[in-house]
């Protein structure tokens, strides 16, 4: 910057906007310490009048939080690892390894990105069932591992890399897998991080699919427990808010710790679009 500009108007606007962003969360936290009768008071009270922890008690006595947390985490890890592996390989081939029908096949991948995911439900369910995977952790993760989105993202990353390194490696006698593994993949780290973050987000948030592939009710992740809570405690808002808070907080913590990776990852997904 050539001249130093005043930044307080910028901060003023941003602080106003941030407040709007954060108010729902603050309200959620204030509510979960209130009693059920206090939340339906008109006009609403801002701070809890009589501080109560019953919402947490109700939540933890209703939802098997830790086992659902384990399922959420386990299926997330599986899905992320699978998706990254599958997408990196395919993305590299689409970007760098010519083969007949490459463009047509890639077009097919792209087209699938536009199809609403609910439309695949029945077919995917049939496959998971036929492989005897219902009620298992892999069932939660498998469709997401093969999402065309990852392949698309990785292809973009590899396309944008300078060909020099690759050629040098090839001249040294490396086979395509070695080139991919030792040269190209390390350079794609930011995109790998992006894919990890985005796949992790989708996995953590998924509601409908886990319900369908778990007919016996085993291996159900947190969103399912949370949705069930709403059916049961309709308008017991403190309990609902406590559930929403407790189930969301793990990912929020991960985000706060790894925010740099989150931002860099998501940014790299957009930059080269």
């Amino acid at each position: 910057m050539a001249e130093r500009r005043r930044t307080w108007p910028v901060h003023l606007l941003l602080v106003i906007a941030s407040v709007i962003m954060v108010v729902p969360f603050v309200w959620q936290i204030l509510t979960l310490f209130k009693t059920t009768s206090e939340v339906s008071r008109i006009p609403p009270t801002i701070l809890p009048q009589e501080f109560s922890l019953h919402a947490f008690e109700t939540f933890f006595s209703t939802v098997p939080f830790w086992s659902m947390f384990a399922v959420s985490t386990g299926s997330l890890v599986l899905r992320v690892v699978g998706q990254v592996a599958v997408a990196a390989l395919a993305g590299y081939a689409f970007a760098r390894l010519p083969f007949p029908g490459r463009n047509a096949l890639f077009g097919l991948f792209l087209a699938m990105l536009m199809v609403p995911s609910q439309l695949f439900l029945i077919g995917q369910y049939g496959l998971i069932r036929d492989f005897g995977l219902l009620d298992t952790l892999p069932a939660l993760a498998i469709p997401g591992m093969f999402s065309a989105f990852g392949t698309f993202l990785m292809r973009q990353a590899f396309m944008n890399m300078p060909p020099d390194y690759e050629e040098a490696a090839r001249l040294d006698g490396a086979n395509p897998f070695q080139v991919f593994w030792h040269v190209m993949l390390p350079m794609a780290k930011p995109t790998l991080a992006a894919l990890t973050v985005l796949t992790g987000l989708y996995s953590w948030n998924d509601l409908l699919w886990p319900l369908i592939v778990s007919p016996s009710g085993e291996n159900r992740p947190l969103p399912v427990g949370l949705a069930g809570l709403q059916g049961q405690f309709g308008t017991d808002y403190p309990t609902l808010m406590a559930g929403a808070f407790v189930c969301s907080i793990p990912l929020v913590i991960v985000f706060l710790v790894l925010q740099r990776q989150f931002f860099r990852g998501i940014a790299s997904s957009g930059l080269k679009g």
Binding site: T36, V81, V84, G132, L134, P138, L211, P215, E218
Partner: protein
């Protein structure tokens, strides 16, 4: 990046073992082997009672394990449907009258007619309205688990505060309308009654009380636009018009039963199934009771009940039939009654239920069987029932005359019925 590959291999290994173990276990079905049945329901409230029933059954049948699973209500039917169509539904599950026909017609339910004969189950022990709901083309596909009739749940404290006499069996429609008006106090945010667009607890009953029918005999056309049905619908629209009920919007934000639990409405027409919840609500201690529905031209209430049904594609049909017969028997009924969860369907097992919550005049619900009418079902019931809110809301809001809204709803329902 090395980790990626090790993990990917681990995934592949998991997949392979999962596949092989999956296909391995399905082949073996030796009779002496211990089998596991799954039993699905949608109620966390009732899950403990279901567990108890399952445990009792296992005591008698050590070779059959039963796993109770509770699904959230909003996802129950979609999950069950996908499972049943895909061959992996739970073995036993709760069924409702309005979904039953599609399942029975599609051959998704196990036929229990022979089991009933061979185990000597007395079908007359169940309220006829309920057992009929789970019979399709002469075959029995489900045994009644519980039943419910409707009554007026009312808040004594609010009645006392307004100086209004409690409802009783002498009440007719005008008494309800008058009381609702007197009980309403906008300054306190209290209304006399909740008047949502509720079929089972609400307008089906008043249509029947006015002498109407909901589905015409034969099941190919509905009867919402007849003068009796219009009178029955008007009962609710009038309550809205008089301001005696929270508006539809308020009832969308906060469901009627929650309004009642929050003590914002004094009367709520609904079923016996709430007794357990009100009983457990500390805020309502000593404040709630129940009275019969008011009389119109005659007395009437819709009766229905949950049925226990089995999946036709179950891998263990014999064990499943045995379990379903047990669910339909006295022991299961007694456990339900003793835990107070619901009104069991089996005749003579209801006393423990009455005793479990002596503060409510629960006998009201049992007496109502006399004038109970089965929940109307025809064609794709879930589909045409789903249209009700859309067509009837303008009548409740006062945006359209009841006659007009009713006629439009009838046309829409008949279109659905014509598709069959």
């Amino acid at each position: 990046m090395k980790h990626t590959w090790t993990a990917a291999l681990a995934v592949a290994a998991t997949l392979l073992t999962a596949c092989s173990s999956g296909s391995g276990s399905s082949g073996e079905a030796a009779p002496a082997e211990k089998v596991t049945l799954t039993y699905a329901n949608w109620s966390e409230d009732q899950a403990p009672a279901m567990e108890q029933i399952a445990a009792e059954f296992q005591k008698e049948n050590p070779n059959i394990a039963v796993k109770v699973q509770t699904l959230p209500w909003p996802e129950y039917w979609s999950t069950l449907q996908v499972g049943a169509a895909g061959g992996t539904a739970p073995d036993a599950f709760w069924m409702l009258a309005d979904h039953f026909r599609e399942y029975a017609k599609g051959g998704a339910l196990i036929d229990l007619s022979d089991t009933v004969k061979s185990t000597g189950i007395d079908m007359t022990a169940y309220p006829k309205a309920v057992s009929d709901s789970y019979t399709y083309e002469g075959k029995i596909f489900g045994l009644p688990k519980d039943f419910d009739t409707n009554g007026i749940w009312y808040n004594k404290a609010l009645f006392d505060a307004a100086g209004v006499k409690y409802p009783d069996d002498t009440w007719g429609w005008p008494q309800v309308q008058e009381a609702a008006k007197k009980l309403t106090d906008p300054a306190k945010g209290v209304w006399g009654i909740a008047a949502p667009i509720d079929a089972q607890g609400g307008y089906y009953n008043t249509i029947l009380q006015a002498g109407g029918s909901i589905i015409k005999p034969g099941g190919t056309a509905s009867d919402f636009a007849g003068p009796e049905a219009v009178a029955g619908l008007k009962f609710w629209a009038d309550l809205q018009k008089a301001g005696s009920s929270p508006t539809l919007k308020q009832l969308s934000d906060t469901e009627a039963v929650s309004m009642f639990e929050n003590q914002k409405v004094a009367m709520y027409f609904s079923g016996a199934y709430w007794a357990f919840r009100f009983h457990n609500n500390a805020d309502l201690k000593g404040k709630v009771d129940v009275a019969p529905l008011p009389q119109g031209v005659k007395r009437a209430t819709v009766t229905s009940g949950i049925g226990n049904a089995g999946y036709a594609g179950s891998k263990h049909p014999e064990e499943l039939k045995k379990f379903l017969a047990f669910l339909g028997g006295t022991k299961a009924a007694e456990i339900q009654a003793a835990t107070g969860t619901v009104l069991p369907a089996y005749k003579g097992t209801q006393q423990p239920w009455l005793d479990s919550m002596p503060e409510f005049k629960l006998q009201t619900f049992i007496d109502a069987i006399e004038y109970g009418v089965p929940l109307p079902v025809a064609g794709n019931t879930a589909e045409w029932q789903g249209l009700a809110a859309q067509y009837l809301a303008p009548a409740w809001d006062g945006a359209k005359p009841v006659e007009e809204a009713a006629a439009e709803y009838q046309t829409a329902v008949d279109e659905v019925l014509a598709k069959q």
